[in-house]
Symmetry: C2
Subunit: 192 residues, 2 copies
C-alpha cells in the first residue's frame, strides 16, 4: 500500500521503517471513479491528494460555464486546492477524476503532525513546492511568449503522457485555447 507515495518521498528524503509506519497512520486511501469529484467549488478542501494511480484535473468555472484547467495530476503528483486548505475558505477550484484513480489523502492536520514528528517531510514539501513554483513560472512564460503550435509542441515534449491520456478538449483548456483552435493547430502541424 502507498508504494508510489513512498517511492516519491524516497527520491528526496530517507525514512526509517519506523518512520514509514508512523507516516502510514496519518494516510487515508481513496478510490475515485472516472468523472467523480474529489472536490467541488464551494466545499472546503480538507485534503491534499497524492495520485497512486489514474489521472485527475483541477479547474475553475466562470459565470458563462467555461472551464479553465489549472493542473493535471498523474501518478506521482499531488493535487488539491491549497488556498482553500490553507485558509479554510470555500474552494474556488473543482477537482475530478479523468480516469478511475487511486489516491492517498493527507488532511491538513495530518500534514502538520507529520511535519512536527518527521521534519524531513517539511524538507520534502519545500523541495516539492520549489519545483512546482518554478514549473508555474515557466508555464506562465510559455503561455505569454509562445504561439499556439509551440505551446502544444512544448506540452507534447514535456508531458507526452498527459497528451496521450487526457481528452483533447481538456488539453485545449489547459493551453488556454478553444477545442476548435487546438484541432486546427494539430491539423496544421500534421501537414509537416
Amino acid at each position: 500500500m502507498y508504494e508510489v507515495f513512498f517511492k516519491k518521498l524516497a527520491e528526496k528524503i530517507t525514512l526509517t521503517t519506523e518512520e514509514v509506519d508512523l507516516f502510514k497512520t496519518y494516510l487515508t486511501p481513496k478510490k475515485l471513479r472516472r468523472k467523480q469529484y474529489l472536490l467541488q467549488e464551494g466545499d472546503v478542501c480538507k485534503y491534499s491528494a497524492f495520485v497512486e494511480k489514474g489521472a485527475l484535473r483541477s479547474y475553475t468555472i466562470d459565470e458563462k460555464g467555461n472551464e479553465y484547467i489549472i493542473q493535471f495530476a498523474l501518478e506521482g503528483w499531488f493535487i488539491g486546492d491549497m488556498y482553500s486548505m490553507l485558509t479554510g475558505e470555500p474552494a474556488t477550484q473543482n477537482i475530478d477524476a479523468i480516469e478511475d484513480s487511486e489516491l492517498v489523502l493527507i488532511s491538513k492536520q495530518a500534514e502538520e503532525e507529520i511535519m512536527k514528528r518527521i521534519p524531513k517531510y517539511e524538507h520534502f514539501m519545500r523541495l516539492l513546492l520549489q519545483n512546482a513554483y518554478i514549473a508555474a513560472q515557466r508555464r506562465f512564460n510559455h503561455m505569454a511568449s509562445l504561439s499556439t503550435e509551440e505551446r502544444y509542441t512544448k506540452l507534447l515534449n514535456t508531458y507526452p503522457e498527459i497528451v496521450q491520456r487526457v481528452p483533447q478538449h481538456m488539453i485545449a483548456s489547459y493551453l488556454g485555447l478553444t477545442p476548435e483552435t487546438l484541432s486546427r493547430a494539430r491539423k496544421q502541424m500534421s501537414r509537416k
Copy 2:
C-alpha cells in the same frame, strides 16, 4: 541593518537574538541603481535577493526582443531565478532595478547552511513558497479567464503599489499585453 528582512521573518517564525546574529553572518547587503542588473540572462544565478527598499523586476526576452515580465518585487519580497540557482545552469531570466534599491543577498550555500542550523527557516521558506505557488496559480487563472480590463482592475486592487510605482509598459508586459492595448483599455475604463 536588514530591518525589513527580519520583520518579514518575524511574521511567520520567532528567532532568538543569537539566531538573528548567526543569521546575519550569512547575509550580504547590496545596493542597486535604477536600471542596473542584478542578473543577466546567461549568467548563473548565485543569490536569491530580498528587497529592503526599492523595486525590481524579473523578465525574459525572446528572439524578437520582446520582454515578458515574470515578477515584480517591492519591499518585503524575494526575487531570483530559482531554476538557475537550483540547477547551476545559466539563467533564462533577467533581473534589474526599476528604482534605486537596497537588497539582502543570500547565496545558495548560505541558505542551505542556515536551514541546517536554524530549521525554522526552512519552515519559513516552505510557507513562503506555498503562498508564492498559490499566487502563481491564481495569476494564471486570471490570465486565462479575465478580460484585459478585468486583469488590469484586479492588479490595481490587489497591488496598487505596483501600478503606482512601475512604468505602464511594464505593467502591460506583466499582464500579457502590448503597451498600446493597455493604454486603450485605460482610456476605455476612464469613460466610466
